[in-house]
Amino acid sequence: MAGDRPHIIVEDLRVAWGTRVVLDRVSFQIERGITFAILGGSGCGKSTLLRYLIGLEQPQGGRIDIDGVGEPHRYEGIPPFGVLFQSGALFSSMTLEENLALPLTTWTSLRGPIVHDLVQAKLDLVGLGPFARHLPGEISGGMKKRAGIGRALMLEPDLLFFDEPSAGLDPITAVELDHLIVSLSRDLGITVVIVTHELPSIFLVAENCIVLDKQAKGIVATGPPARLREESTIPFVHNFFTRSSPGASATEGR
């Protein structure tokens, strides 16, 4: 472990689709071992930022540095981080067992019963032990996300990214998933980065966060979510955390 060095450093990141600038001069750091949330309203560029953090896109300016990885879009080899995509992104024609085994059999020489054991251990870890033989089409949305987490954990990453983990889930399943994320982060000692706009998730899961804003094309607030809710004087941040519309906030004289 690299001591006190931040796990992720983003400096002056610039993101643009063609001539349209989505994010400009975005800088923040994520400490090792914490659960960090990237927040903001729809269309503010938070999912886009995630695509850059996991190396799917090359920044138009600035730098992303992940400890032990360097610039993510240049990294080759065993992926040192896992990603849970919004829908779970399981391969629909493979069983859960085969979905989870795929990274292992691709990147290691392990075959046979030990692969089954390792896959089963991860399925047990995310609470899907009895569903190894099911196809993604045969399980619920929440279970698909759990299976997605299991697959993301197969290569033992010390960093996990989640894109809108509670999107499309009922409140109870969403809370269960949040608890799973918290317990995995604690039990495995990994850094977790979550992109979300779900307030209950944010307060349950995140130790620290940044808030992105569409108008500002960047970060408008940084800090623990509870503190931002109580102390922030920025109207957008206040409205975001108290779920009030700008109009309501104005009429209340805040």
């Binding site: 392990l110 030990i114 609470g127 032990g129 033989r133 495995l188």
Partner: protein, 374 residues
């Protein structure tokens, strides 16, 4: 530092030390060490497990050590982890031991040839019933369509005619041209031996107009549009678009299958006719370059050979071949279940089945023409 498990025995008591890297990168070495360990502990009753010499441990290493401890427990040994030293490793191993679900390893033995043959034959009646059922539903859709024209997506018809017909004429015509060339060459080389090259134009007209024109065009369309239609509908099926259609009260057969079959029925005879003209051109090139027959004479002989019967015998088959392609491709698409792989499998089946049915229907027509003496 090598990855290993060292054991020391003192009578019925043993101490076991995990040494080195117990992580994904060293998974093969960890597996070897874990598999060797129980044999060295045979006859022991107590085992102390020492994790202080671990250079690194992750989930993979922890699972393997957890399974080793499970195995020792099953063998009746009492194992003890020294929890006070290296608590991180102890916690990780405990995590994977506490949430254990027993799921047996899938038996790897592949089914024998006879088993697979039996299974394939056993599904045949079901498949045949499904195919007949779908053909029946398509037939039943026709009167319903006439009774309620808005239940068909007529708006898609021009686009379908464009994609199935207009976009395909070049490739079907090129194929027909080449087949015409081939028939011309064969005619000249074979009939020439009897000094009968003047019959080549008639040979080409009879062979191509009556048989090969419709067949070649239908095979190309089956490969091209059959695959396109099947994969489009299969993708709609797996992404629940077909269910959505049903939920808003649309019959997928009328909404999707009828316009596609209609488009095929309209364009295939046209493509066949264009292909026939190109085939004549191909045969003309072959004959006039290989023999000294003048172009005018070839054209006159060809015009004499094109009788109404020859011309219609080919064209009358086309709509039936078109229907076969449409019903097979759409039927395979609608029968898709599962994910991305199922779409691929159904598309392949659709192409193979539609080409086969085109050839079979063509053979039936030929037989029929022989019987009725056309």
């Amino acid at each position: 530092m090598d990855t290993a498990i060292s054991t020391e025995r003192h009578g019925a008591h043993a101490s076991l030390a995990a040494v080195g890297f117990f992580d994904l990168a060293h998974a093969a070495a960890v597996l070897r060490a874990v598999e060797d360990a129980p044999s060295q502990l045979r006859g022991c009753e107590h085992v102390d497990v020492d994790l202080t010499q671990l250079a690194r441990i992750d989930g993979t290493g922890a699972v393997m050590l957890a399974r080793l401890l499970d195995r020792l427990d099953n063998d009746g040994l009492q194992s003890r982890l020294a929890a006070d030293r290296n608590p991180e490793a102890v916690r990780l191993i405990a995590l994977y031991r506490s949430r254990r679900n027993e799921v047996p390893v899938r038996s790897a033995g592949a089914a024998g040839v006879l088993t697979r043959l039996g299974a394939a034959i056993a599904t045949l009646p079901g498949t045949a019933r499904g195919a007949l059922d779908f053909t029946g539903r398509c037939a039943a859709a026709v009167p319903k369509t006439i009774a309620s024209p808005p239940s068909v997506n007529w708006g898609s018809l021009p686009v379908l005619i464009q994609s199935i017909g207009a976009d395909a004429w070049l490739v079907t015509s090129a194929a027909n041209l080449l087949v015409g060339l081939i028939i011309g060459f064969i005619g000249v080389s074979q009939l020439g031996r009897f000094g009968a090259t003047s019959y080549v134009p008639e040979l080409v007209v009879v062979t191509h107009f009556r048989e090969l024109g419709a067949l070649i065009t239908a095979i190309i369309v089956a490969g091209r549009s059959g695959a396109g239609l099947a994969s489009e509908i299969a993708t709609m099926k797996v992404s629940e678009e077909i269910d959505a259609l049903r939920s808003i009260g649309f019959d997928p057969v009328r909404w999707l299958v009828v316009p596609r079959c209609l488009a095929l029925v309209i364009v295939l005879p046209i493509l066949t006719w264009i292909g026939d003209v190109f085939a004549l051109g191909g045969a003309l090139i072959a004959t006039t370059t290989m023999t000294d027959m003048p172009i005018r004479m070839y054209l006159t002989a060809t015009a004499g050979a094109i009788t109404g019967t020859n011309f219609l015998a080919g064209l009358i088959k086309s709509p039936f071949l078109a229907l076969a392609i449409g019903i097979v491709a759409c039927g395979q698409g609608l029968a898709t279940q599962g994910g991305a792989a199922a779409v691929g499998a159904r598309t392949t089946t659709a192409v193979v089945l539609s080409i086969f049915s085109v050839i079979a229907i063509n053979a039936v027509f030929t037989l029929l023409f022989v019987v009725i003496g056309v």
